[in-house]
Structures are given as C-alpha cells and as structure tokens.
Amino acid sequence: MIYDLRRAALPVKWLVTCLLATFGIAYGFGAWMVGLYAGFTPKSVAATYADREMGMRMPPDTTMVLHHQVTLGELAADEQHVVDRNLLIQDTHVHVPMYGVIAAALSLVVLGLAVPQWSALALITLLFAAPWLDFAGMWLTKLASPGFALITLLGGWAMGAGYMIVTALALWHMWRPAKGVAV
C-alpha cells in the first residue's frame, strides 16, 4: 500500500470525503441528465445514438414527393433527443479526459484501501473501463448496430457501481468507529 486511509491524517480523510461527496453530486445529476436526454433502456439509448445516415438513400434523379397522412402523435415521436456524429465527436473529446481524471482520482483513493492487490487492480480497471465501455457503446451504436446500446448502458452502470464500491470502502476505512473506544 502506498498509503493507508485508515491511518491518514484527519485533513486527508476530510479531503477524500469531500471529493467523494462532490463526485456523488455530479453522478447524481449526471444520471438525471441521462434520464432526460437518452433514457435508461437499450431502445431509448439506441434512438439517441443510432446513426440515421446508416439508412440514407441516394438522392433521386428528379425531386420526388411522398404524400401521406400523419397524426399529431406521430409528430410527437420526432421529439427524441438525437446525438449526431459531430456532437458525439465533441462529447467524446470533452468527456473522456474528464472521466479519466475522475477515474484517476478514485484510483488514488483505492490505493489507500487495505484490500488485496487483485481487488485494487480490479477496482482500478473497473473505474477506467466503465467510461471506455460507455463511449465505445455510443460509437458502436452509431457506426455498427443499435444493439450496442446495451454496452453504453453497461458502461454507465459500471461507472455508478465503481463509484459506489470505492465510496463505501473508503468511508468504512476512514470513519468506522475504532473497537474498544467509547463514542
């Protein structure tokens, strides 16, 4: 272990607690935003990221018109928030480095946990792999098949799980009452 959170100075424990609380707030609002714009089902995630250009037809030789009846309900169906390729490029560019910083910060917390080496390695891998899965799923949904939306969901849940595990372990290590000490 590089350092031990159980024996860390009080300011260090407080810093880690505040950091975890801040990430918790950010993740909470992140989940809210996902619920608003992409949803939590494979179908809604696929509708957000799948590339409509995949089925794009060639322009006709002369302009053609298709006339058909529609209902107001069908018009409402077009309200789905869509992330096109350019926006996804921008999102990847902006979000992936930030996810890397968050994973690194949580990994530093993991380094202070008294857990077996394989557990620490597994946790660090989970923290970094979750955003990779998240964005890999988005790109595969766009470029390959809407079925890959499941990978994005898996990545999102893995991110939440990684945070929850690290937070629970860290809080337990730092703040559990010491045995035999009256509170």
Partner: protein
C-alpha cells in the same frame, strides 16, 4: 502550457449544451394550423440539383435531403401548411416551426427547440415580439425580425433573432421553390 490552457478553454466554450423543447411539436402544429382536423405530410426528396439550388439560395441542406411540409385540413378545405427548420449555431441547434396560410403568407413562427444555453436569449427575443415581424411575409421577402427588435434586446438575444431570421428565410425559400409546386400538383 498557454496553448494547452487555450485548448481547454476552447473545448469548454464549444461544448454544446443539451437541446431543450420550448414548445412540443404537436402543440406548435395545433397553434399554427388552428382548426385542422386531419394532417398530411409531403416528404419532398430533393434531387442533387434541387438540393444544391436550395443550399445556394439559403445556405441550407435539409436532413437526409428531405423537406417535410405538413398540411392541415378541415373537411375538404386546407387550413394551411407548416415546416420545421433546424438552424445550427455555434451554441447548438435551434428548431423553428413556420406556418403558412394557403396563399403562402406566413401565419406564424414558433421556436420549438433551443439549448440550455440559448434558451434565455431566445425567450428574451420572443418576449419583445420577435415573431410579430414575420407575419404575412411571402416567399421572396427577407425576414427582418432581428432588425425589428435590435433596440430592445442585448447582443445575444439579437444574435439568436438573426438565427430565427435565417430559419424563416429557409422556410420561405422551401415553400416558394418546392412546396408551392407540390401543392399545385396535388
């Protein structure tokens, strides 16, 4: 180091905030085509030549090369028609619904979508009556909504008004160049 900081700043500034729905599409349709009981869509699949013509005229290529006009009918009579136009801005997309009377004059304009960032600017422009300037415009006319509210709003609401002008100009060009002929033929 300075370049790196500038890069991060540019990335932060360019990050487009999520789209927000200001008015739901069905609500916009009901407002712009009052009394319509049945609705029909005309999907105009533009040829390369026509798509290029539209792009040259109003700097616009509709998504997938398809222009969709919605026509509202009450019994056998036409109430009017409507088109949704998307305008991409550096702050994210803007969607406007432009309604037309049967004679081609603009019946009304509704901003249906903005972004979290642009919403307050759009709302400020709308509050001072931006869309009043578009009523009765006919294809060939130049929308002047932004100029009409210039003295009553700040720089950013005025900028958004210019984007709405752009959307209205696209709708007018599409109606005059394509939909008018579709309508006449049907």
């Amino acid at each position: 180091m300075t370049k790196w900081i500038a890069g991060v700043a540019v990335a932060a500034v360019l990050h487009i905030t999520p789209t927000v729905v200001l008015v739901k599409r069905p609500e916009a349709v009901r407002t712009l085509l009052p009394g319509a009981e049945t609705f029909f869509a005309d999907d105009i699949h533009l040829s390369d030549v026509d798509a290029h013509r539209l792009h040259e005229a109003v700097d616009w290529s509709p998504e997938d090369g398809v222009l969709t006009f919605y026509t509202g009918r009450q019994g056998a009579g036409v109430v009017g028609s409507l088109v949704f136009v998307r305008v991409d801005t550096p702050h994210g997309p803007l969607e406007i619904a432009v309604g037309f009377k049967p004679d081609g004059a603009v019946a009304g304009v509704i901003v249906t979508k903005a972004t979290v960032e642009t919403k307050p600017w759009v709302l400020e422009a709308l509050r001072v009556g931006l869309t009043d300037a578009y009523r009765e415009l006919k294809p060939g006319a130049a929308p002047g909504g932004a100029a009409a509210i210039q003295d009553r709003v700040g720089t950013l609401p005025h900028y958004m008004a210019e984007q709405v002008d752009k959307g209205v100009a696209r709708a007018l060009a599409a109606w005059g160049t394509f939909y008018n002929h579709v309508r006449a033929a049907s």
